[in-house]
């Protein structure tokens, strides 16, 4: 009896995978392709109904936005903020994550729950009343205000990721290093750092991305003239919808962050202690 190459189940499975790919193409790839196309519409040849494709494609829109809008300033602000926020957040998160990951104490789970508070307070409530607080305290630096706001709202992510990293550090390696007379610094370098490194880098990247993407605090505290990439994108959406500009800024916002996020994900996957220490 000849065996069928594909069983009926396999055929169904392939069909459903194909269907999933199709859904993905319609819901994600196609809208992105449209955004790329819109960003390439030549400013002097508008793309209007009933033309199916833009009449002329050029990079002029990209050049125009770069030279005439506040985009360079917004990019500088966003990346400078993100660099400060990720450094400060990591410095603050490491000691707390150490306590959560490597120590036992009364009230640990309550304390861990409390770190999640920023995630359940609506973003615009924190943003608006944080700006009221800044006014009351007489803090007028927008940059400092946004750094504080972002740091607090992103601390939960860094603490959580680093707690996982700290729990993966193997106590037998720490003990072995100590027994062999290693100084605290050497213990840290040999037993902790190799396991922590991927987690540290991943949290740095994730906090960096989330800070660039944060909208509520940047929009409210930065108003009216401190621009970041999301606030500039917002200004091109809504009532005065400038589609080609919005397309350009969307791509500038999404593409670097997706690349960074994929790197972070790879780092987190590599953070298996067995891989790092060579012990199962």
């Amino acid at each position: 009896m000849t065996k069928l190459l594909f069983s009926r189940n396999d055929v169904y499975r392939y069909l459903t995978v194909l269907l999933a790919v199709l859904v993905f193409l319609i819901f994600l790839a196609l809208p992105f392709a449209m955004a790329v196309l819109w960003s390439l519409v030549d400013p002097s040849h508008p793309w209007a109904y009933p033309a199916v494709l833009p009449p002329v494609l050029s990079l002029r829109r990209w050049a125009e936005i770069w030279t005439t809008s506040a985009l360079p300033q917004a990019l500088y602000n966003s990346y400078a903020l993100a660099a400060c926020v990720s450094a400060v957040t990591l410095l603050l998160a490491v000691p707390t994550a150490y306590a959560f990951g490597r120590m036992e104490f009364t009230g640990k789970s309550t304390a861990q729950m409390m770190t999640l508070i920023p995630l359940i307070i609506p973003g615009f409530v924190s943003a608006i009343f944080f700006s009221a607080l800044l006014i009351q305290l007489g803090v007028y630096s927008r940059f400092a205000g946004i750094v504080i706001g972002h740091t607090v709202s992103l601390l939960p992510y860094a603490i959580r990721l680093l707690t996982v990293s700290f729990t993966m550090v193997r106590q037998d390696l720490v003990d072995a290093a100590r027994d062999l007379g290693a100084s605290p610094l050497t213990v840290f370098r040999t037993a902790y750092l190799p396991v922590l490194k991927p987690g540290l880098l991943a949290s740095l990247i994730i906090v960096f991305i989330l800070s660039i993407e944060e909208f509520a605090i940047s929009y409210i505290v930065g108003a009216p003239d401190f621009v970041t990439v999301p606030t500039i994108l917002y200004s091109y959406l809504g009532y005065n919808f400038i589609r080609p500009n919005a397309a350009v800024v969307s791509l500038i916002l999404v593409v670097p962050n997706v690349v960074l996020m994929l790197i972070a994900e790879r780092l987190l996957k590599s953070a298996d202690p067995a891989v790092v220490t060579g012990k199962g």
């Binding site: 998160a93 508070i117 307070i121 924190s126 009221a132 607090v152």
Partner: protein, 287 residues
């Protein structure tokens, strides 16, 4: 655990936990105090329930409140309902399942405002959908779909963005169900539907509730999807709060504070209510 060690642990908590607790209590405290007449930017500070009275007697406020509540419930339930069967389908790996998981998670990487732009661009007068419908001969001329009055656009965006979160939370708990439990159920004569109702659903209830709560809170406080793709004749709670704070010069902050407190109340009790209803539904289904 020695006292010394415990003290060390508490000291280590300070850098990470203190900023969160201090900041959040100050911010929430600020909203609550301003709603009852303290920390005024205009006039003297004194206790007053006037702002609460003014806000809660406005029809417009309640329209906004129930609109946000409705969008949050519909988005949370739809996201979970879409994510659940997919998570069950991907419970065990098969050729192509990794690809599908990656595709489902992709929207997480797309910024909310970018998603809103992609969506508006897709359904707009000049968008792909209209052009496609015209060329297929289904409609004679492009139709206006942007900023629809029912908030369908907002719900589509919320589900698009939140379904992956629900999927991530649920797939973990679905995969954690051991085959031995399902085999035992099968040996005892449970069919496909009975296994789902009596074994899988109760064991994944916590993750269903967690995703409902998280999505409800995120959606109830939404600003950007509503501002870009939402109906023009009604605001979401966040949008309303910001508008009142900016427009009503003298008491804008106080009235916005009332809206803020009510938004937190909605997030808390609304999400708990949805989670409670889910528990009730799962228990009923298991009977």
């Amino acid at each position: 655990m020695t006292i010394n060690n415990a003290l060390k642990a508490y000291l280590l908590l300070i850098p990470g936990l203190l900023p969160i607790v201090a900041f959040m209590s100050l911010v929430v405290g600020m909203a609550v105090s301003q709603s009852i007449g303290f920390f005024n930017f205009a006039g003297d500070d004194h206790f007053s329930l006037l702002f609460w009275q003014q806000m809660l007697t406005q029809d417009q406020f309640w329209r906004v409140f129930f609109y946000s509540a409705r969008i949050a419930v519909v988005s949370a339930v739809l996201s979970v309902m879409l994510a659940y069967p997919v998570a069950l389908w991907l419970r065990r790996p098969f050729p192509g399942s990794d690809l599908i998981s990656a595709m489902i998670k992709a929207p997480i990487l797309v910024h909310g405002l970018v998603a809103a732009f992609l969506f508006v661009n897709f359904i707009s007068f000049q968008g792909f959908l209209n052009v496609a419908l015209v060329h297929l001969g289904l409609i004679a001329r492009p139709i206006r779909m942007q900023n629809d009055p029912y908030g369908i656009g907002v719900v589509v965006l919320q589900v698009w963005k939140n379904m992956p979160f629900a999927f991530l939370i649920i797939v973990g708990s679905v995969r954690a169900i051991g085959d031995d439990i399902l085999d035992a159920a099968r040996d005892l004569g449970a069919g496909r539907l009975a296994r789902l109702r009596r074994v899988i659903l109760p064991l994944t209830l916590r993750s269903l509730q967690a995703s409902l709560i998280l999505i409800f809170i995120g959606t109830a406080g939404d600003y950007s999807f509503q501002a870009v793709a939402g109906p023009i004749n009604i605001n979401s709670m966040s949008q309303f709060m910001l508008r009142i704070q900016m427009d009503n010069a003298a008491h804008g902050w106080n009235e916005a504070a009332v809206v803020a407190v009510m938004l937190m109340v909605l997030s808390l009790f609304g999400s708990l209510a949805v989670a409670g209803l889910m528990q009730f539904a799962v228990r009923r289904a298991g009977r």
